[in-house]
C-alpha cells in the first residue's frame, strides 16, 4: 500500500497526439480513486503510466514519495485488472491466481493457502480448476480481481474492470469491489467512463477531458459543484440540461430571450450572469425541472421554455420525460404520477434556485444551483 503522486505528468504519442496534459494530483494511502472521462480523454493513459505500461513523456510519478517514473511494471509491485482478455487462457483459475506468487518464488504451501483465501473472499472456490473459456465473463473478472489482490500490491489498477458485464452483474460487482477495497485498504485507481461506477465506488475522483484534468473531488462535490458545463453534463445519473439563451431583452419588467428560435423566459436573478452581448448559459439537473402541462399555471420566478414531449419513460417512483424544443433535448424527472402523450405540448419550468449559471464562452461555473434536498418545493422533488 502506498500513496501515489503525479507531478506535471504529460504523455505524447508520437509528436501529434498530446494525450495527457500536465496533470498533477495525489492519491492518499488506502484511497479508492476514480479516473472518469469520455473515451479519448486520457484516463486510460494515466492509469497505464501509473502501472508502468506506458512511459511518462514528461513529469514524475511518485509512490510514497519516491520516484517510480523509470521503473518497469515488474519493479513497482502493482496489480492490474484489465477490461477483457485478462486471464491467461492456457491456465486454470488456480494457476492464474498463483502465477504472480509463483514467479516471486513463494513455496507451494504458501501459494495454496493464499490462493485459497482470496478465492473464498471472491466466492470463486468452485471455479478454481476451470480455464477462462469455461467461465462466464463475470467469473473471469472475479478471478482476475483475485489474481490482482492475492499478493497485496502497492497499487491496484482497475481498467474498466466491469464495463463488459451485464447490468445486474455490474451492480453486484460494484458493491463487492467497494467492500473488498475498504476491507483490504489497498490504494486503488479505477478507470471508467460510467459516472455511476465512479460515483458509487470511489472516495475521490478526477474528471478528464481531452487530456486535461477538469476537476478533482468527492463524488458529492463533483455532482453538486461541477467546475464547468462539461463536468456537469458528464457526471451524474442524468446529465445536466444546458440552455444557451441569446438576445436577452426586457419588456414590462420580465426578461426573455431566444433559444433555438424558441421563446425563453428568464428569471430576474439569472440576469446577473448574462454576458455583454446579452447571452446566458444556464443549466439544471433533470430532477429540478417542473413539467407544466397545458392549462396549468407555471410556478413564478422560473426559467421557462415550451416544447413537445418526445417520450415519457416511467422509472417506478418517477417518470423520465424527454422534451424536445428545436434540436435541444431536455430531460425531466417528474415525481408525480402523470400520463404524457407523445408530442404533447408542455412548458419546461426551472425554479431560479435550481439554476446553474456558466460562463458563455469558457463554460466555467459562475453559480451553483441548490441541491435537490434543500429546495423549497420539496414534495415535487422527492427523488
Amino acid at each position: 500500500m502506498a500513496s501515489i503522486e503525479l507531478q506535471n505528468v504529460n504523455k505524447w504519442y508520437g509528436s501529434a497526439v498530446h494525450a495527457v496534459r500536465d496533470i498533477s494530483f495525489k492519491i492518499e494511502d488506502g484511497e479508492f480513486f476514480g479516473l472518469l472521462g469520455p473515451s479519448g480523454s486520457g484516463k486510460t493513459s494515466v492509469l497505464r503510466m501509473l502501472a508502468g505500461l506506458e512511459t511518462v513523456t514528461q513529469g514524475d510519478i511518485l509512490f510514497d514519495g519516491a520516484s517510480v517514473t523509470d521503473q518497469t511494471p515488474q519493479q513497482r509491485n502493482i496489480a492490474m485488472v484489465f477490461e477483457q482478455n485478462a486471464l491467461y487462457p492456457h491456465m486454470t483459475a488456480r494457476q492464474n491466481i498463483a502465477y504472480p506468487l509463483k514467479i516471486r518464488g513463494r513455496t507451494k504451501a504458501e501459494i495454496d493457502e493464499m490462493v485459497g483465501d482470496v478465492a473464498r473472499m471472491l466466492h470463486i472456490d468452485h471455479l478454481i480448476d476451470r480455464r477462462a473459456s469455461q467461465m462466464s465473463g463475470g467469473q473471469q473478472q472475479r478471478v482476475a480481481i483475485a489474481r490482482a489482490l492475492v499478493r497485496r500490491p502497492n497499487l491496484l489498477c482497475l481498467d474498466e474492470p466491469i464495463a463488459h458485464l451485464d447490468t445486474l452483474l455490474r451492480a453486484r460487482l460494484r458493491g463487492e469491489l467497494k467492500r473488498l477495497q475498504r476491507s483490504l485498504g489497498t490504494t486503488s485507481v479505477i478507470v471508467t467512463h460510467d459516472p455511476i461506477e465512479a460515483m458509487t465506488m470511489t472516495d475521490r475522483l478526477a474528471v478528464m477531458r481531452d487530456g486535461v484534468l477538469q476537476q478533482i473531488g468527492s463524488p458529492d462535490e463533483i455532482h453538486n459543484r461541477p467546475v464547468n458545463a462539461f463536468v456537469s453534463q458528464f457526471f451524474g445519473l442524468h446529465s445536466m440540461n444546458l440552455f444557451r439563451v441569446e438576445g436577452l431583452k426586457e419588456s414590462a419588467g420580465r426578461f426573455s430571450g431566444s433559444l433555438n428560435d424558441t421563446h425563453a423566459e428568464v428569471p430576474r436573478s439569472a440576469m446577473a450572469y448574462a454576458d455583454k452581448s446579452d447571452r446566458l448559459l444556464v443549466g439544471c439537473r433533470p430532477h429540478a425541472v417542473v413539467v407544466v402541462k397545458q392549462g396549468e399555471k407555471p410556478p413564478p420566478d422560473t426559467f421557462q421554455i415550451t416544447g413537445r414531449v418526445y417520450v415519457a419513460e416511467p422509472l417506478g417512483e418517477v417518470t423520465l420525460v424527454t422534451i424536445q424544443t428545436g434540436d435541444l433535448t431536455v430531460q425531466a424527472l417528474d415525481p408525480r404520477k402523470r400520463d404524457y402523450a407523445i408530442d404533447e405540448e408542455v412548458t419546461v419550468a426551472v425554479p431560479q434556485s435550481a439554476l446553474y449559471a456558466f460562463h458563455t464562452e469558457t463554460e466555467e461555473t459562475l453559480a451553483f444551483g441548490e441541491s435537490a434536498d434543500i429546495l423549497p418545493d420539496a414534495d415535487l422533488r422527492a427523488v
Binding site: A51, G52, P73, Q74, F82, N85, A86, Y88, S133
Partner: protein, 273 residues
C-alpha cells in the same frame, strides 16, 4: 434426375478426376516399391505386385537410402530447432515493435523468395574458406538461413493474434522477459510454433540444390541420395520407389498433424471469449 443430384454428380466426378491425376503417380510409386525387379518390365505391366517383396526396402536402405534418411534427419531437425529458437523472439519483436505490413516484414519474407541458386555460389566459396564444405554444420547453417525468414514471418502473424493484455498482465504480475516468453507467449503461440517448425522441417527435408552443391561424400541427404541413383547406375525403380515411400511417409504424417494443429489453433481463439 433432379438438378441438385446432377450437380452433385458433376462435382464428385470432377473431384475423382483431379484426385486420380494427383494420386496416381504416388500410387504407382507405392506399388512399384513392392514389386521384384523382373516384374517391373512386364508387358503388359501389372498393377498389383504379383509376388510382393520387401527386398527393395532392405537393398535401398543399404545402397544409400539409410544414410540419406539419417543425414536428412540430422540436418533438417537441428536446423528446425535453431530456426525456432532464433525465430521466436525475433517474431515477437517483429509483431510488437514494427508495423504489420512494413518494410522490415517484407524484407524478411523476401529473403525466402530469393531463388536458392542466387546465394549458392556465395555459400560454396565461403564454405571452402571456412572448412564447412561437406559438413553437417555447414548444411545446418544454410537451412537455418533458408527457413528462418519464413519461421519469423509465420510466427509474427501468430503473435499478432495474441491480445497484448496477456503480456501486460504478465509484466504487471512481475514476470521477467524470460518468464513472459516461457509462461505466457510460448504456450499461447504453441500451435504457431509447431506449424512453423513442421514447415521448416518439410522444406529442409526436401531441399536438393544446396545439398547437391555444398556437400560431397560425407553428407548425403535423402534427395541427393535419390538423385544419385540415376547418376551412377542403371536406375532400380523398385528401390527408388521404396526409398521414395520412406522419404515421403514422414512428410505425410507431419502435414496431417499440421492441418489438425491449424484447426485447433483457430478453435482456441474462438473458444477464448
Amino acid at each position: 434426375m433432379s438438378r441438385s443430384l446432377f450437380n452433385d454428380f458433376l462435382r464428385h466426378f470432377a473431384l475423382i478426376v483431379i484426385l486420380m491425376a494427383v494420386l496416381s503417380p504416388l500410387l504407382w510409386l507405392l506399388l512399384t516399391a513392392f514389386k521384384p525387379y523382373e516384374e517391373l518390365f512386364n508387358n503388359p505391366p501389372t498393377i498389383l505386385p504379383e509376388s510382393a517383396t520387401l527386398v527393395n526396402f532392405t537393398e535401398g536402405w543399404e545402397i544409400g537410402g539409410g544414410k540419406g534418411i539419417m543425414d536428412s534427419l540430422i540436418v533438417s531437425s537441428i536446423s528446425t530447432v535453431i530456426c525456432l529458437i532464433l525465430g521466436f523472439p525475433a517474431s515477437y519483436a517483429l509483431a510488437r515493435r514494427f508495423p504489420p505490413h512494413g518494410q522490415l516484414s517484407f524484407t524478411i519474407l523476401s529473403l525466402r523468395m530469393m531463388p536458392p541458386i542466387v546465394p549458392v555460389i556465395g555459400f560454396y566459396l565461403l564454405f571452402q574458406e571456412l572448412s564447412l564444405f561437406d559438413t553437417y554444420t555447414g548444411l545446418i547453417i544454410v537451412y537455418t538461413f533458408m527457413n528462418l525468414p519464413l519461421v519469423i514471418w509465420l510466427l509474427a502473424e501468430f503473435m499478432r493474434q495474441i491480445p497484448k493484455s496477456y503480456e501486460e498482465a504478465a509484466r504487471v504480475d512481475g514476470a521477467s522477459w524470460f518468464q513472459l516468453f516461457r509462461d505466457v507467449l510460448l504456450p499461447l503461440s504453441l500451435p504457431g510454433v509447431l506449424t512453423a517448425g513442421i514447415l521448416a522441417m518439410i522444406f529442409a527435408w526436401n531441399e536438393f540444390l544446396f545439398s547437391l552443391v555444398l556437400t560431397g561424400d560425407a553428407v548425403i541427404t535423402l534427395p541427393k541420395a535419390l538423385a544419385s541413383f540415376f547418376l551412377f547406375q542403371q536406375p532400380n525403380w523398385g528401390q527408388l520407389g521404396a526409398i521414395g515411400i520412406v522419404a515421403f511417409g514422414p512428410l505425410l504424417l507431419l502435414s496431417y498433424y499440421m492441418q489438425r494443429l491449424l484447426i485447433r489453433s483457430f478453435s482456441i481463439e474462438l473458444g477464448g471469449r
